[in-house]
């Protein structure tokens, strides 16, 4: 560290002097004197300057070989020598420093009156710039050791040899260093094979580099700040904005306060828990994230579509065989864009440079924009399915004849909606009842009324006893059931019927008095009055459904009101009625007996329950998914059930399968009112408030493997819709593919095949 000390000492004056050079005005006049006094000695220094420019790189190249080994002795030398000749050189050095550029004089301008710098005139002669100086050796930038064995070192501008200058031996060198004070500041110039003294400028750069300073002498790191806006007289006269300082600049924000207070209040009231635990348990939870299956809720990320690799034909310079012929080109151009097999024509260019811009870029960008605009973000698996193959192969309705296809005749009630119709087991007679209380018995195939009863109250249901050895039907009215017999019965059947309904010895009344009274009405039996009546408990409302058991002894009725769901099961032979349900959930819509098993179907508003009457338990609950069940019928085989609803759905249940519908048919445009299976033909019909009847072919196979075949056959239209009510009931004629339908237009239609 000792050798650095003199440098630091020397730095001071240099700094002063250099700062003098830049701003003379801040320094006392004495400094100026000193500078001006040195001006005369500029000349010789500048001469040596020109040599030093060339020689300077040489030093660097030489010092590159080993820096550390040689640098320290040199430093030593420098320091010792600088100490020796410190005083002597100080003037010279400072002179050299200051005379890099011609010094400017300050003069008062004639024009402005202000002081100005006046520089000396540049003499544009040969010496004025060292760069234009002629180098004596013009050999060029060649390795000079080529000339090592030659007497000359190169050639001058005239082509004459430049002779090698005489070089002394080591002793001469030593003597020279002793004699010549500038010997130690000179460097060997390879080009001229001589020592050249370095200029003061170069020496200064060397010194600055050594002391890790900026090599530029004119750089001043300590420049004084220039006050442009502060200070007296420098204030802004015109502010940028004349607006007064707003209050919000110094008043605390009310809005922020409100926000904060809201949070504070929430914290106080406990609505915000500042340090709410993340989990209820203090223990940390661990998740086996790799064990779980990937969530199926979200679709897997779409894989990026794989582009097809380009082929030869897409090359800019395809082989000749890929180029289209003239016919192919014409065909390609004539086909529609969508129909083209490929969307480009192979073209040949001799070089890539000649390939023009892609002409479809605008169209493709536009198409891409359209794609993005309309693109749904869902994954679609494209299915290559012929749509015709998806249509189920149903047999043609013509092969499934007979089925009712036309309205053969109509039977008109006077007025009132015809709610119900029933057909005698032999298929010859129909009995229909309207809301006015008129019950009509008529011939099915002629439509001629044979007998009419006027009950005077609304009739909700009519059903014929399925027995063939007796013949009577039940009419359900308000809280009453009436048993009628048709006229012109054969004597055997008549006596059997009368014996059944009006037996000579009444069956013993049950021990517990029933709410239901069985009343023999006429003393002398006539056709005009019912032979027998059943009085249901009061306030049980209209009997809206009557369903016979297939053996014709039991029948079930559903009333619109009353307890126990309004369901009663009556036994004709014992004159006994019982309510099968103590309590039932939901209002019962209709009930049915299973055709062969002791099962009992009960349809409430939404569900169909199947009870085993023998074991007194619930077997099954069917969920049709209908909001309000309106109708139900069981297939004659007993294995299938159809349920219709006011919400237009028709459900087909396979009772062997689960409690969900096997098929849901939604073909009606309004509420379904009635359903009926044909007892012998594979047919069923549904009627709706849209005034139409739909006839279906329903083939049920005895093997359990084949699904039932349901084919829509025919839509029968002919009933008028009145007050939103269409066809209220459909019933099949036994033994014939004929259908009877009752409508709100107070007609009954007979549809024949």
């Amino acid at each position: 560290m000792a050798p650095l000390a003199p440098h630091r000492k020397r730095k001071q004056p240099i700094k002063e002097k250099s700062s003098d050079g830049s701003d003379s005005e801040h320094f006392p006049d004495g400094g100026l004197d000193l500078l001006s006094g040195d001006e005369d000695e500029d000349g010789p220094v500048q001469e040596s300057d020109s040599d030093g420019v060339d020689a300077f790189p040489e030093i660097d190249a030489g010092s590159d070989t080993d820096e550390e080994g040689e640098q320290s002795p040199r430093d030593d030398d420098d320091s010792s020598e600088s100490e020796e000749g410190g005083q002597d050189d100080e003037d010279a050095l400072s002179d050299d420093d200051l005379h890099i550029f011609p010094r400017a004089k300050t003069a008062i301008s004639d024009i402005t009156g202000h002081p100005k710098k006046v520089y000396p005139e540049i003499e544009p002669d040969y010496d004025s710039d060292s760069s234009t100086e002629d180098a004596p050796n013009r050999v060029g930038n060649v390795p000079l050791h080529w000339y090592d064995d030659l007497p000359h070192i190169g050639y001058d501008v005239d082509g004459k040899k430049v002779l090698k200058p005489a070089r002394g031996d080591e002793l001469d060198k030593f003597l020279k260093t002793v004699d010549d004070p500038s010997a130690w500041t000179s460097a060997f110039d390879k080009n001229t094979q001589t020592d050249k003294p370095l200029t003061a400028e170069e020496l200064d750069i060397i010194r600055r580099l050594q002391s890790l300073e900026n090599p530029d002498a004119s750089y001043d790191p300590y420049q004084p700040t220039v006050e442009w806006f502060t200070g007296k007289g420098k204030e802004e006269v015109m502010p940028l904005s004349a607006a007064p300082e707003p209050k919000r600049r110094w008043v605390p924000s009310k809005w922020e306060k409100q926000k904060v207070m809201k949070i504070v209040r929430a914290i106080r009231q406990g609505r915000i828990l500042p340090s709410k635990p993340k989990t209820t348990s203090s223990q940390r939870e661990f998740f086996a994230i790799w064990n779980d299956e990937p969530s199926s809720v979200h679709a897997p990320p779409l894989p990026a579509p794989k582009l097809r690799l380009p082929t030869h034909s897409e090359s800019y310079n395809p082989p000749e065989e890929y180029l289209p012929t003239e016919e192919e080109r014409k065909e390609w151009e004539s086909t529609e864009k969508e129909d083209r097999e490929r969307d480009y024509l192979p073209q040949k260019y001799s070089s890539l440079r000649l390939v023009p811009a892609y002409d479809q870029i605008i169209q493709e960008r536009f198409g891409r924009q359209l794609d993005l605009y309309l693109a749904p973000r869902i994954q679609r698996t494209k299915l290559n399915i012929d749509p015709n193959s998806l249509i189920p192969k149903l047999p043609s309705p013509n092969t499934l004849r007979p089925f009712p296809s036309y309205k053969s005749l109509g039977f008109a009630h006077v007025r009132g909606r015809v709610r119900c119709v029933s057909i005698s087991p032999d298929g010859a007679w129909a009995v229909s009842a309207d809301e006015e209380g008129i019950v009509c018995l008529w011939e099915v195939i002629v439509g001629r009324e044979v007998k009419r009863w006027s009950l005077g109250e609304k009739v909700g249901a009519v059903d014929w006893c399925p027995r063939t050895d007796v013949s009577f039907f039940v009419v359900g009215t308000e809280e009453k059931l009436h048993f009628f017999i048709p006229p012109n019965l054969p004597p055997a059947i008549l006596t059997a019927t009368r014996a059944l309904l009006n037996p000579a010895t009444l069956p013993s009344t049950p021990a517990t008095p029933s709410l239901v009274k069985w009343v023999d009405l006429p003393k002398v039996p006539t056709l005009e009055t019912p032979l027998l009546s059943v009085e249901l408990p009061p306030s049980s409302g209209l009997v809206k459904h009557v369903a016979w058991h297939r053996k014709g002894d039991y029948f079930a009725t559903v009333s619109s009101g009353g307890g126990q769901g309004g369901v009663w099961i009556h036994q004709v032979s014992r004159r006994h009625s019982q309510a099968p349900f103590k309590k039932i959930k939901g209002s019962v819509q209709l009930v049915l007996f299973h055709p062969s098993k002791p099962h009992f179907f009960v349809a409430t508003q939404r569900y169909v329950r199947i009870y085993n009457l023998a074991e007194q338990k619930l077997l099954k609950m069917l969920i049709p998914g209908i909001r309000w069940i309106s109708s139900m019928d069981v297939h004659p085989s007993g294995d299938h059930l159809i349920v219709g609803g006011y919400d237009r759905k028709l459900c087909w249940f396979d009772l062997e399968l689960n409690d969900k519908p096997y098929k849901i048919l939604r073909y009606h445009s309004r509420a379904i009112r009635s359903l009926h299976f044909h007892p012998s033909y594979p047919l069923f019909a549904s009627s709706s408030d849209d005034g139409s009847i739909q006839v279906f072919h329903a083939r049920v196979y005895s093997d359990l493997l084949t699904d039932p075949l349901i084919v829509p056959l025919k839509i029968l239209r002919g009933h008028d819709v009145r007050d939103g009510l269409g066809v209220l009931q459909v019933k099949w004629v036994p033994k014939h593919p004929w259908l009877l339908s009752t409508g709100a237009d107070s007609t009954v239609a007979v549809w024949c095949h």
Partner: protein
């Protein structure tokens, strides 16, 4: 006639009518229609009164022009011409409050109607109701007039104004009654009730010789009865609910006479469902049809079903036997009337179908011809057909709008139509009978 423009067709005219043309080949323009051909024959025969003709080419009635019928053939066309059936015209209406299920105009000068109120009514041609005979308490479905024979009229046989009428009813019986036609003093006497069926009797028919009666019941039985009145009750009368009134009334009706019950002489059992119609054909045979889709031929004397034609799903409603035997015309619920050849086997290949737009309920053949028949259907239209043109009816008349036609009777030019709306009398058919011609002005 612009025959020069259109191509001509060589034509031979044949006919079975009285209007014979000499056998000769005509060159007829192909564009000619029925009207021009009819004019040609009228002018060729120089008939005093214009007689419209219809033309049959290969058994098909000519509908359009000749060129359509010739179908581009160059050979000589053989055209048969028949007298046209004029569209029926209404003559009169007989008022009825009830539906009329059966009618007959075969008795000269009278109409007999069987109605749903169970009464047989007798009208004369001047729409005057002569007599109402409430034979049954239940609707009469059908009645038949037994041609007079020595057996049928034992008491005083030689009275032409006495008719033997058999009525079939819903009350499961048929009844033989005597109706004495004597103007306003016409009387009727029930003679015997026929007890066989357990269900309503659908149809009744009597043989041409007046010896036998057939009844068809809903229970699938056909009863064969002799037309004679038994001396005593053959079947004990049973007590029914409806019986008291009926018996009372009958007693009143009868006056002094008693109604005998009568048992069938034979029961023809083969039908499996309701027998809807039965008819005697020639030679003591009978033909019946029923809801079991069969048409059966019966050997009445032996009581056997000699032949059965079974078709699929055609419940038959009505039957008509033409004057030429071996065929039977049957109407079924599937809106077709079919002509069956009774001689062939069970195959029904030889059948001709006449499609109807509504259920045909009744069929009747024209008295004179074996080819023309009329059908009445539930849409209230009576259609007259020719057996030779199955595609289209020859003529039709809308008798009622939407009211059913239930029975037809066609004698000569008079067609009596019974049904929901009562009875109407129409003039139909080409046959001209002098007697009828004279009477018609008084009716219209």
């Amino acid at each position: 006639m612009d025959g020069s423009v259109s191509p001509s067709i060589p034509v031979m005219f044949t006919t079975k009518t009285q209007y014979q043309l000499p056998p000769q080949k005509f060159m007829i323009p192909a564009s000619w229609r029925r009207f021009q051909l009819s004019q040609l024959i009228n002018t060729a025969l120089s008939l005093p009164r214009i007689v419209p003709f219809d033309f049959l080419i290969r058994g098909v009635l000519l509908g359009g022009s000749l060129s359509e019928a010739a179908n581009g053939e160059e050979e000589t066309l053989e055209i048969e011409y028949i007298e046209s059936v004029m569209p029926p015209t209404k003559l009169a209406a007989l008022p009825h409050e009830e539906w009329v299920s059966s009618i007959s105009c075969s008795v000269p000068g009278h109409f007999l109607t069987g109605s749903y109120d169970g009464a047989l009514r007798v009208f004369d041609r001047g729409q005057t109701l002569f007599h109402t005979a409430p034979f049954h308490a239940a609707p009469i479905t059908s009645f038949a007039i037994v041609p007079s024979s020595q057996q049928a009229a034992p008491a005083d046989a030689d009275d032409g104004d006495r008719l033997l009428v058999v009525t079939a009813s819903h009350d499961r019986t048929a009844q033989i009654s005597r109706v004495s036609l004597d103007g306003t003093r016409t009387t009727s006497t029930p003679l015997a009730t026929l007890h066989l069926h357990d269900a309503p009797v659908a149809d009744v028919a009597s043989s041409q010789d007046g010896k036998n009666i057939l009844t068809a019941g809903w229970d699938g039985l056909i009863g064969l009865w002799s037309a004679g009145i038994p001396e005593s009750d053959e079947v004990p009368l049973e007590e029914t609910i409806a019986a008291p009134e009926r018996k009372k009334r009958r007693k009143v009706q009868e006056g002094g006479g008693t109604v005998k019950t009568k048992a069938p002489s034979a029961v023809l059992r083969s039908h499996t469902a309701r027998v809807s119609a039965v008819e005697f054909s020639d030679g003591g045979n009978a033909v019946s049809c029923g809801f079991d889709s069969t048409v059966r031929t019966w050997d009445v004397e032996r009581g056997l079903c000699s032949h059965t034609i079974t078709v699929s799903e055609k419940p038959f409603l009505a039957l008509a036997i033409p004057s030429t035997p071996e065929t039977a015309l049957a109407a079924s619920v599937d809106r077709s009337v079919t002509l069956y050849d009774l001689r062939t086997g069970t195959s029904t290949a030889a059948s001709v179908k006449f499609p109807h737009p509504a259920t045909p309920a009744t069929l009747v053949f024209a008295q004179s011809s074996a080819t023309q028949f009329a059908s009445g259907s539930y849409d209230g239209v009576v259609r007259i057909w020719d057996v030779r043109s199955a595609t289209r009816e020859v003529a039709s008349a809308r008798v009622w709008d939407g009211q059913k036609v239930l029975a037809l009777s066609w004698a000569g030019e008079v067609m009596a139509i019974a049904g929901e709306g009562g009875v109407e009398v129409w003039r139909a058919g080409a046959g001209v009978e002098g007697g009828l011609q004279k009477e018609t002005p008084s009716m219209a």
